[in-house]
């Protein structure tokens, strides 16, 4: 295995999340190493999105540890940390049910991603200090660059709400990338896309990994996409982790086939 050669970025141990009486995640372990694309799959309601929410600070897990080891930074346990701090530490995400800022332009949506990487204060902004002007220019340039990468540069001045569905998903990715993450978490990025768009997304994700040098954890129901691009796959069912391994291993795993009975695993 290549694991020991690469540095570990995210380490989740025994993660558990309860909602009232419902155990949505039941002591799940998961690791992500530098440069990997890892998929998290499982039937509806398995707890995948909840897992994301626990890792990114939207929910505070009931039990377990979420540890991060940013490249070149200090390792730390991030349970219960505020989402914005976690983002600042280098993990960014997209949402299953798209959450853009509808009444802001496409470019402004991406610029928000730069918020935690810039430091212009209110005073700076009022006086248009040198820092404000410089940071604004950098923010605009980087945001444009990201929009070009996801193919949205032409719609930069449109309102985000006017984008087509597939474009909105790509905009969410660009916005997340703007935060300079070392780990990108994508929640069903292909949901609602047609086959053409999905295959473009496939390329986009692989390209992002190469160009931005980050690792990607993605939740996805589109098995073709998952099998195509992931290095490793984790499978969840009813909050429990039932399997992990390479795409080939997963394809042949009995438990996984059972869990997915009725859905197509063959792809």
């Amino acid at each position: 295995m290549a694991e020991n050669k690469r540095s570990k970025l995210l380490e989740v141990r025994g993660l558990t999340m309860d909602f009232g009486g419902l155990r949505a995640i039941d002591s799940v372990d998961l690791d992500i190493f530098a440069g990997e694309i890892v998929a998290l799959i499982g039937p509806n309601g398995a707890g995948k999105t909840t897992f994301f929410n626990c890792v990114t600070g939207i929910y505070e897990p009931t039990a377990g540890d979420v540890l991060i080891h940013p490249p070149g930074g200090v390792s730390r346990r991030i349970n219960g940390m505020k989402p914005n701090r976690i983002t600042a530490l280098g993990m960014a995400r997209t949402f299953q049910n798209i959450r853009l800022f509808p009444a802001m332009t496409v470019l402004e949506n991406v610029m928000i991603g730069r918020h935690c990487r810039t430091a212009t204060t209110i005073i700076d902004a009022i006086l248009r200090s040198r820092r404000a002007v410089r940071e604004e220019r950098e923010t605009v340039d980087q945001s444009y660059r990201l929009l070009e990468k996801v193919g949205l540069a032409d719609s930069a001045d449109e309102f985000a709400r006017n984008l087509a569905y597939g474009a909105q998903r790509r905009l969410e990715i660009a916005r997340a990338l703007a935060t300079d993450p070392f780990l990108l978490l994508l929640d069903e990025p292909a949901a609602g896309m047609n086959p053409q768009e999905t295959s473009e997304l496939d390329e986009l994700i692989v390209r992002i990994r190469a160009e931005e040098q980050l690792a990607i954890l993605l939740i996805e129901h589109d098995m073709k996409l998952v099998m195509n691009i992931s290095d490793r796959i984790y499978v969840m069912e009813y909050g429990k982790e039932i399997a992990q391994g390479t795409p080939r291993e997963i394809k042949e795993n009995k438990k996984v086939i059972e869990a997915y009975l009725g859905e197509e695993v063959h792809a």
């Binding site: 914005n84 960014a92 800022f101 928000i112 918020h115 404000a132 605009v140």
Partner: protein
């Protein structure tokens, strides 16, 4: 035809609804019952007409949704996109504003100047609340309390410590801001609707305290003999004083516009708007919710405090009656009517809402009735307000990253 029939039914329904309140009046003193049947007729006819128009508008709105007419460039957007034109309009407006007092006032008659001063005070309030509600989406129903903080700060400081207007002006703003921070700190993590109620409560508490703490705030009678703004120790007559107040508040308006405009398109302004649009997405993108909300809330309070000082100085005396929920509601109506986040819209709305009742006395009586209706109707038919917020466009010249100054637009 179906429309007409429905409208007729609605007309009848409203005649039924208003029957006891609009027709019957029991005079308990003279022990008489007044029957005002003619009113019922008016209600019926009015409701019929409005119902007919309403259905027409709702249909149009539904059609408009489908084709997103709302996103066609508005007049304001075109103005903002054309720097030359917008500069000209701005200069023109500034020129009119500057010569205004000399056009409308003569030696003894400076009524119009005074009216304009109160209107401009509300323009500043509207622009301040626009930061909190319009940009950051924090529904503040007790905004007028910060105005009161500024006004009482000046009244007390000038009375007890003999501090002058110009010293107190920034102090009033800072006091407003301080109160904003103190109140905002615990409550800003509340959900939007709870925040609305709590701020409403704060507004009410402020008024009760002002009314009951006689020794400090003068109780319901308020505080009198507040000094006017001083001008290098010159003695000014009545008209000159008003004109002087006018220029002071005009300068404040200009300052507010300048600052809001700078902030709106800045890092912090974007963060405010993002929070308004979607809190969870914002924090997930690295926006510090507590700090960002607090800054919007405190900054809004700052303007109210600042202009509260001017209000106290211009009026000579203040009492709690100037700081009721209806005043908060009026400022909110300005922001809603003008268009959340839209500077130009809020200015126009504030002037309209203050000046119309002043000059149309018949309207004055129905003022709050109309404001209430306007708030409902705007939300239904034109939630973006009269003048929808414009977005600035940024230049980008390609890969070398040499983008233009990008300072135009937005102004």
């Amino acid at each position: 035809m179906a429309h007409l029939k429905r409208s007729f039914g609605i007309g009848l329904w409203f005649m039924f609804l208003t029957l006891p309140l609009v027709v019957v009046r029991v005079n308990t003193l003279s022990q008489e019952v007044q029957w005002r049947w003619s009113n019922l007729l008016w209600v019926g006819v009015g409701a019929f007409a409005i119902a007919w128009f309403w259905q027409f508008s709702i249909n149009r709105r539904a059609a408009g949704r489908a084709s997103t007419v709302a996103d066609k460039p508005s007049l304001a957007q075109r103005l903002a996109d054309d720097p030359v034109l917008s500069r000209r309009v701005l200069l023109g407006a500034a020129a009119v504003a500057i010569v205004f007092p000399w056009l409308v006032s003569t030696g003894q008659n400076f009524y119009h100047v005074n009216v304009m001063v109160s209107a401009l005070i509300f323009v500043v309030l509207g622009l301040g609340l626009n930061i909190t509600v319009g940009l950051a989406g924090l529904l503040d129903l007790g905004y007028i309390a910060f105005f009161a903080v500024g006004a009482y700060t000046y009244a007390l400081l000038s009375k007890n410590f003999d501090l002058g207007f110009w010293t107190c002006l920034p102090l009033g703003g800072l006091m407003g801001m301080l109160f904003g921070v103190i109140l905002g700190f615990p409550i800003l993590r509340l959900r939007g609707d709870y925040l609305a109620i709590v701020t409403l409560g704060f507004g009410a508490i402020t008024k009760i305290v002002l009314e009951n703490w006689d020794t400090l705030f003068g109780g319901a009678a308020g505080l009198a003999n507040i000094p006017r703004p001083e001008l290098f120790g010159l003695l000014l007559d009545g008209r000159q004083k008003s004109v002087y107040s006018y220029y002071i508040v005009l300068a404040l308006v200009a300052l507010t516009i300048f600052v809001t405009n700078r902030l709106k398109n800045s890092r912090i302004g974007h963060a405010w708007m993002a929070l308004r649009e979607d809190e969870i997405a914002s924090v997930a993108m690295g926006v510090d919710m507590a700090r960002t909300k607090l800054s919007a809330y405190a900054l809004g309070a700052f303007w109210a405090g600042l202009v509260g000082v001017v209000f106290a100085a211009h009026n000579n005396f203040i009492n709690p009656d100037s700081f009721t929920f209806m005043d908060s509601a009026m400022v909110l109506a300005m922001v809603v009517l003008g268009g959340m986040g839209s500077i130009l819209g809020v200015i126009i709305a504030a002037l309209a809402l203050k000046l119309l009742p002043e000059y149309l006395r018949a309207f004055a009586e129905y003022r709050m009735l109309v404001f209430g209706a306007v708030m409902v109707l705007m939300m239904i038919f034109r939630p973006q307000g009269l003048i929808s917020d414009t977005r600035r466009k940024y230049d980008y010249d390609g890969a070398d990253g040499a983008n233009g100054e990008g300072d135009h637009g937005g102004k």
